[in-house]
Each structure stands twice: as C-alpha cells, then as structure tokens.
Symmetry: C2
Subunit: 306 residues, 2 copies
C-alpha cells in the first residue's frame, strides 16, 4: 500500500555546539516522507513559498515522492524555523518560528489519494490534522504526531483528534502532559482511553515504548558514536514506522514490533548528519542492516527455561 504524509515543509537554521547550517531543507513532512519512500510509495501534502525552488523539490523527487499535493503559494515564503542545541542534544531552544505560507494552509487531498490506506499526520495544528483525516476514506490507518504547543493551546481539538486517530506518536514529556500521569505506563494507558489503539512514547537516546490494549514493546535507541543533529529524528521515527506498516499492509502485533525497530533505526540515521543529508543517499539495505544490528544487541538466544 502507499502512504499519504501531511506536515510542514520548511527551511531550518540549526546551530549545534560544533556547527551552524543556514536554511537547510527541513519540516516534519520532509523528514517523514524521505524515510518513508524507502518502504512504500509516498504522497506528500504540504505548502511552500516561491523560495522553495526546483533544486529543493529535486531533493524530494529524487526519492520518488509524489508532490502533486505540495502546493506552492505565489509570492509566499516557506515556513522557517531556527533552533539551537546545547551540549546535551536532547535539549534545544527554538529561536525563530516564521509560519509564513503555513499560516493560511488549508490542505486539500487529490481525489485519487484518499484511498491510499495509510496516513501520517505530522505535527501541525490538530484542526488541520482532523480536516485531512476526514478527507481520507473509511478504513484508513492513521498516525499522528503533536507537540506541547498544541497540547497547551488547543486541548479540545487535540482530544477530538485522539478520538479519531489510530496511532499517536509523542515523546515522554508530551505523554505526561496529555495524560497528567508521571508514570509512563499510566500515561500510555490514559492516552489509549482517549481513543488511539496504539501509542508510541519516544524517549530520544533512551529509545521508545509502544503500548496497545494488550501489548507493550520496547526498543532501545540505536547507539551512535556521535550525534550531529537530532532535528527531524522524531519525524523520521514516525515516518519509518508508518511506512513499514503500509508496506506490510496490516497492523498486527508483529508488524507493530517491526515498525518500532524500523522507526528506531530510521531516526538514528537522521541524527548522523545535518538536516536531511543522511537520508539523501540512504538505501533500504542500510536500514535492514541496522535493523539486524539492533536486534542482535537485544536478543538472547536461549531464554529463561534452563
């Protein structure tokens, strides 16, 4: 099956203690589509300004991503974000957020995309996420991301979204914020009661935990010798996860477990270079190789029965 991915397409200026990169390609839909393209056909819904030129589109086209749903606003400027990381790559300050063309974005899905089967809603206004979800055909498997800005600013829209979506991706802080529970198992349970049948709680370098009504699954992060730029790691995780499900064409325990591991290794690649650089030349084989490496680091061959 194929996947429709909605979210931001952006320019990011990123500063780490080592380096600064100006106006690199970024945005939730960019990261998640680029990784998803290694698993299944991808259809991107988003908006850019005139400053998003052919050379920028080419980065997405090179991955075979269908851009029919990427609207260009004449005379408009592309969404811009600037952030700075400290010595701890888990902590960052947002210095600038310019919504630009995103401010009036009203996503409309091409008719032929509505039966794609799988949908990933990157971190945008939950009202827009609901709007897109409602455009998809009945039976679509949907996943969404969100952030503290919407949890605080649009709690009712977010609750409405959660009552409709199948899979929620959040980090540990967001899970605690949404649920009001500090223990992550309690937080996950509380979120499942709000609607999603699957919740994925991401913990950055400490891995991720998936919960359904009758299953828990935990993946440690893939250990990296150096983290250059964690921007987009969460989007890549979710993109790899959802596209792995779309490729399998089903959502059962085993495909969810595989999606967790593929999401995890997907995110690890993104951190290795600035912006989407590492994703540009990444292959399916690179991902499969790292999947097996990570599994070898957690698997015990003979179990407890002595």
């Amino acid at each position: 099956m194929s996947i429709v991915i909605v979210g931001s397409v952006a320019f990011d200026t990123i500063e780490t203690p080592q380096e600064r990169v100006e106006r690199a390609i970024g945005g939730s839909a960019t990261y998640s589509s680029m990784i998803a393209s290694l698993f299944c056909p991808v259809k991107l819904v988003g908006v850019v300004g005139e400053d998003f030129r052919a050379e920028h589109r080419a980065v997405l086209e090179a991955k075979g991503i269908d851009l029919e749903g990427l609207e260009t606003v004449e005379g408009g400027k592309t969404f811009f974000w600037e952030g700075r990381y400290g010595a701890d790559p888990n902590e960052r300050d947002t210095l600038v957020t310019e919504l630009n063309v995103f401010e009036t974005f009203k996503p409309v899905l091409p008719e032929s995309w509505r039966g794609s089967g799988f949908l990933f809603l990157g971190n945008i206004d939950p009202d827009l996420q609901i709007d897109v979800l409602d455009q998809m055909k009945e039976g679509t498997v949907s996943g969404c991301d969100t952030m503290n800005f919407w949890i605080e600013g649009k709690p009712e829209s977010l609750r409405r979204l959660l009552s409709k979506v199948d899979i929620l991706f959040v980090n540990d802080g967001e899970a605690r914020q949404i649920s009001g529970e500090s223990n992550l198992l309690h937080a996950g349970k509380a979120i499942l009661e709000m609607g999603p049948s699957v919740v994925v709680i991401k913990k950055g370098e400490h891995g991720a935990m998936l919960m359904t009504g009758d299953m828990k699954f935990i993946t440690p992060a893939f250990p990296l010798e150096s983290v250059m730029d964690p921007t987009g790691a969460g989007d890549t995780f979710a993109g790899g996860f959802m596209a792995c499900l779309a490729a399998a064409g089903k959502v059962d325990s085993e495909s969810l477990k595989r999606a967790m591991v593929y999401g995890t290794v997907s995110a690890s690649f993104t951190c290795e270079q600035f912006s989407v650089e590492r994703l540009k030349n990444l292959s399916s084989d690179d991902i499969k190789k790292r999947f097996n490496e990570l599994m070898a680091m957690v698997r015990v061959d003979d179990e407890a029965q002595d």
Copy 2:
C-alpha cells in the same frame, strides 16, 4: 559455582515523597547477596556492629547465605546511611553517612572461600576491593561496582583496581566521569582500555548497556507501574548479573546477555518495595517469569529479511 560477595551491610533510613522508613536493612552486600542467593550459593564478606542482631542476620540466613565472613565488632555500630528521594526517583540526596565499624574494616576471606570461582566487589574503598581480589585464587571471575566518591577521591587506587578486575558496573554518569568521554560508546571503550574485559553501564529507568571488545548488548529497564524505593537497585542488578554467570559457570557472549537481562529484572523487583522487602519472598520462578516477559517486549519474531 558459588560467589563471594563483599560490600556494606547497613541500616538505611529512606525518605520518598510518599513514605519514610527508618533503619531498614540495606547495604550493597545485602542487596546483591539476597538476589544472588536465588541463582547460586552465596558467601558474604562484610562487617556489622552489635546493633545488627539475630533478627537482622535471620533475613540473610533465610536466603541460605553463608555468613562465616560477616564479622561482628563488639561494641561497634553498623554502617548507617540516610537518603531522600525527590519526585524523580533517579535523583536522591544523601543526608547522613556514618561509616562506624566500616571505618576500620579489613576483610579477610575464609581460606575455603578463595576458590569459589566468582567474586563481586560491592561499592567500597577500591583499596579494600583490591585487597579482597588479591585474596581470591588465580582464575576467579571478578566484578566490581564503584561510585563518584572513589572516582574523585581515589583515582589511582581505582585505576589499579580496573587493571585487575574483569567486569565493571557503573552508571552513565560514573562512566563519563571515569573516562572523560560524554558519549557512552566512547566512554565504554575507554574503560575497556583501562583493563576490564566487560563494562556494564547502567542508566536506571532507561536500562543498561554492556560492552566487550567485540560485542554490545542493550537491555531496557523492566517497565514498572510504580517505583517505591530505588535504593539497592544497582546492587541488585550487579548481584543478579554476577550470580547468573556463576550459576552458568562461564563467561561467554550468551551468558553475558542472559546476565544482563537477569540483572535488569532483579533490579526491577527491588524498586517495588522499601528496603529488601521485595527480595525476602522473591522466588527463582518470579525472576524467570519476568525474564520472559521482558524478552517478549523486545523480541521481533521475524527479522528484517523479507
């Protein structure tokens, strides 16, 4: 095989946001011996004062722990520690440390214990750890714990210990402090170069990572619905780990992996109740059951080769 365990036997006063427990049984050798006793015969080396009465010894004796090496100093007082946990159970303040009989402790191993095969050196003065290690027969498999107090206060003794010991247990902060490396893979490599053939880096609720010259293994923590008291979790981890190796009677990749998972689930039990309460009635079957539960949370049945 059997294991000799050296460390503190203590009284702990522990305060959490929920509760306060006064002068409960604690100490590194207590926690690690009690869990180890579920895997193999345990011989405890330590020192207590007259205030450590028959009822306290009975807690250890009930586990079948050999106390021939537990010296009682007439007129002396047992090591005392008081600590307070905040809302985040990973952070604690030490309020009181009274070494008491520990100040002049000079461990002497019963002659018949020196060929036990396995040795765990709980967190005590590295000079004492070396002294005990030197009393064991050639070919003993040894593991040790340490802490920031010794890393800062006795760096040369610690380096000497590391050149002799086989397995080092540290938490992530200690690994960074010993190695001067912030990345944990680099920290682990640097520590391996100092002597140990195995380093285990513990990350509390985020699990643990093991490194040897040619293997990495990662275990997430066993997810708990509530953490009542994390005191002794690290000691229980190391005790379960080392005793699992002693029970296997060998140190190869597979036994190290199993030891990581057993250490992890051992630690999880300790956190469920105050002091050693949960360990008192814990059975081998409880541990095996949780081993299998944790493995089910990380294992993917069909791997990446589609």
